[in-house]
Symmetry: C2
Subunit: 208 residues, 2 copies
Amino acid sequence: MTRKVKIPVSTVGRLSIYLRVFSQVAKTQGTISSKGLAEWTGINSAQVRKDLAYFGQFGRRGVGYSIQDLKAQITSILGLDREWNAAIIGVGHLGTALLMYRGFGSRRFKVTAALDTDPDKISWELEGIRIHDLADLAAVAREKRIEIAILSVPAEAAQEVANQVVAAQIPAILNFVPVRLVVPKHVLLRDVDLAGELEALTYAMRKR
Amino acid sequence: MTRKVKIPVSTVGRLSIYLRVFSQVAKTQGTISSKGLAEWTGINSAQVRKDLAYFGQFGRRGVGYSIQDLKAQITSILGLDREWNAAIIGVGHLGTALLMYRGFGSRRFKVTAALDTDPDKISWELEGIRIHDLADLAAVAREKRIEIAILSVPAEAAQEVANQVVAAQIPAILNFVPVRLVVPKHVLLRDVDLAGELEALTYAMRKR
DNA sequence: TTATACATGTGTAAAATTTCACAAAGGGGG
DNA sequence: CCCCCTTTGTGAAATTTTACACATGTATAA
């Protein structure tokens, strides 16, 4: 089988990048080479081939990769051949921001619930999504079949909320809170640090 | 000198993480060990020491690092000892979202301008920030001393807008558009791919 | 003063990731 | 059918990143 060796996380990240290229070139050609993908992405062409080879032999020597096929393959590898329900937990500035951001939905992600603890927010609706009481998380998660919790709560509350997410049997967390969360290892956790991204820029700018 | 060897990007990313820990522990202790930082962050303690050692000898053997000192050091290393003016370019869903998100401002980043090409948006104000015509980018950038452009425009327009940013002499771009931008190498570019983050999660969930 | 426990800074080893480089194939033209 | 150009898939090398391990320094207590 193909999935004997462990696949680097970085490879998975690049799959997303390759997928994106297709929406930009698909119209003009039916096929693309690793060199072509390399040019579009800035990733070394050997790297491209190696990334794809982890999952199978999708290319044809002398020809390249069928865009249609490869698109379908990567879509399937990334689990994007179906929809995923997500809930936003914490409807403060960032949470509201993420709720408004339709980019999540644009691919296969649907934000179908929002939760907060603030009585002034609960029962309100934002962008057509009702805000539930966080206390009802387990019920909401079950009912709406939530599989991804998008966390944007205050730092002090983050771990406690994460515990509730785990208790509600939601299997994955996308954490926007700049705090290290401890979760059982069967729960998938991914951190996004927006301030950190800016800091990487100022670090580089400072040296001038 | 301390800056002879090249510092890994990953090290810089971890500095942000260390810095964050201090706001959570500072009150209780005056000092922290690499082991302590390791426990807070999940990063190996030798890694912590190596990261810090790139920039100088901040610790004391048998004692650890003075939190106050280390905080000041990292703050300075990351260039966070002053404020940075940022502009949000593209006030669609994500742009609005980012504009509302005060987390950027919470540290040393100030979003002081917003720009768009849509006549219906230009001259409006959002969160107290006036939306300018993108055509005026160079003037706005000069006047407001913009040093970071936060890009959230449609994919088709991204490269062209990036060119304008470069022409406006803005030295750094934080790009939220899932497109590879080509910029001169004196311009700092950092990509944030929100959909990609979710895709990393679904990839892992799919395998069950 | 000496023993003990702690913790840094760093040389070295290990692991992971990226890049090179080439044999093996595919395709097209004559 | 043969030649030539292209491009994959993949060992092996190179590079980068992480982890180990320990000599060296610090503090405390008896």
